[in-house]
């Protein structure tokens, strides 16, 4: 498995997320064909690089996801606030990816997904799930290597997707 640069973290985290949402979207995104909403995302890789988050709360917004880094005792808690559960798998895998990544940096962390609207939280730890993350990364790379984007499949997700017009015009 190849090593990733810190600055790739943001893109890859998003790509992992997209892998579980839509492969067409993942392909376009990975080729730099992004839609307006995506263009203002904060670079999490750069943020982590500054390393200043240790010991205090910091918030990073990545598109629809907002991540809080909280240090509790000796563990970093990555909090992600989510609107709903429709993208649960995608969120979870993205969180796992961050944990996987932080671990490689020697940082022990766990993630808490917060669903304020549902008054629910979900704790995620990497333990025993490394392979899932690695498989996802490989799958992302496989899709990115396609010469043309995977054929779009119309689902409920398309309705609110920023790529709707591109896919269906």
């Amino acid at each position: 498995m190849r090593e990733y640069l810190l600055t790739e973290l943001f893109v890859t985290g998003t790509e992992i997320n997209y892998l579980f949402i839509c492969k067409t979207k993942l392909w376009y995104f990975s080729k730099g064909i992004t839609m307006e909403q995506e263009s203002e995302w904060v670079d999490l890789g750069k943020f982590l690089h500054e390393k200043s988050y240790f010991g205090e709360e910091k918030e990073v917004k990545i598109g629809p996801i907002s991540i809080d880094f909280i240090k509790k005792d000796d563990i970093i808690e990555v909090h992600e606030v989510k609107k709903g559960k429709s993208m649960e798998k995608a969120h979870e895998m993205q969180a796992l990816y961050y944990l996987y990544y932080l671990k490689k940096l020697g940082i022990n962390a766990k993630a808490i997904l917060n669903y304020p609207k549902l008054r629910e939280t979900k704790e995620i730890t990497l333990e025993g799930r490394e392979k899932e993350v690695e498989d996802s990364i490989r799958e992302v790379e496989r899709i990115k290597s396609f010469p043309i984007p995977p054929k779009p499949v119309k689902t409920k997700k398309c309705k609110t997707c920023a790529y709707y017009e591109l896919c269906w015009v």
């Binding site: 080729k31 730099g32 064909i33 992004t34 307006e36 263009s39 010469p147 043309i148 984007p149 054929k151 709707y164 017009e165 591109l166 269906w168 015009v169």
Partner: protein
């Protein structure tokens, strides 16, 4: 909130104070909500401070300038924010590969012709270009494609002319400077349409300098020229036809100048108002099954081009169904 195009017709100053953009003219100063601006069209004598330009660049807002006659001069095109190296390579590949370039060039001409045919029907004239379009298919050189396009256009103007009121005949399509009213009107509208297309391209990853029907050296944003072939008939020509036939634009809205016939200020205002209204009108898109504005149709055309270039779907030029 849907962002809007801003037209500055009067003379004044555009400046930034803290996080607000202001336009100050003889009537006073007016704050402009920057988040609501899509792009800016400047017809008046406007002074822009560098701070205002920095602010606009930061927000990715293009500013288009028009000269004293109302014709497009140039754009302030902020450093591009959307990049895709892969797409640039695909765009170049489709230019360099003769077959691929010809294919696209012919599609632009085909789309333009179909829209002209459609207009003729609307305008109450008869005519179709099927023979010329057959000839188009056999062309092997870009110059020949251009040539067929010119002949189609010539025929189109002649047929359209038969439906136009006296005093507003195109007779011979003349540019730079237009020699009569209808020519002035069409040129003015095309001049407004072209930067609108540039703005749409700015909001995609397409490189506006690589084009297919037109030579990339022809003008800086030559891809906008390619796309304007599709949109000139369905936007500019339709507005011109309507304004003249409904008598909204009259002889009194023009003036003569050393430079030929020109719209006067009142005429320009009427036309710009009609143009802005037209761009905001929506039509139901048969494939998207959604309402889209005429302006958005330009963006969709850019998306179709992206899909053609990456190899997902062959470009099918927009033929007005409305």
């Amino acid at each position: 909130m849907r962002k809007k195009s801003l037209t500055l017709f009067s003379d004044g100053t555009l400046y930034r104070k803290e996080n607000t953009l202001y336009f100050e003219n003889a009537q006073g100063k007016k704050p402009l909500a920057i988040e609501g601006i899509y792009d800016i069209y400047i017809y008046g004598k406007v002074t822009i401070t560098s701070q205002a330009l920095h602010f606009l660049a930061q927000k990715g807002i293009a500013v288009h300038f028009f000269n004293h006659y109302g014709y497009y001069d140039g754009s302030f095109y902020p450093r591009e924010s959307l990049h895709s190296g892969d797409l640039v390579i695909k765009q170049a590949e489709h230019y360099l590969d003769r077959e691929k370039r010809l294919r696209l060039a012919k599609l632009f001409v085909r789309g333009a012709s179909k829209n002209m045919e459609r207009n003729l029907k609307r305008f109450g004239a008869e005519g179709n270009f099927s023979e010329l379009l057959e000839e188009l298919e056999d062309t092997r050189k870009i110059t020949d494609v251009m040539n067929v396009e010119a002949r189609i256009r010539q025929e189109y103007y002649a047929l359209w002319d038969e439906t136009l009121p006296d005093g507003f005949k195109i007779v011979k399509r003349t540019r730079r400077p237009p020699q009569n009213e209808m020519n002035a009107l069409i040129s003015f509208l095309n001049s407004r349409l072209y930067p609108a297309i540039i703005s749409e391209l700015y909001n995609t990853q397409l490189t506006p300098t690589i084009s297919y029907l037109h030579e990339p050296s022809e003008r800086r944003f030559s891809l906008a020229l390619d796309l304007s072939e599709i949109f000139k008939p369905i936007i500019a020509d339709r507005i011109a036809n309507r304004l003249v036939k409904q008598g909204v634009i009259k002889k009194e809205h023009f003036r003569e100048d050393l430079n030929g016939v020109l719209l006067n200020d009142e005429g320009k205002k009427i036309v710009l108002k009609a143009f802005n209204e037209e761009m905001r009108k929506s039509v139901k898109h048969p494939k998207l099954k959604r309402n889209v504005t005429k302006q958005r149709l330009i963006r969709l055309e850019a998306y179709k081009l992206i899909k053609h270039l990456v190899g997902t779907q062959e470009y099918e030029p927009l033929v007005a169904w409305f």
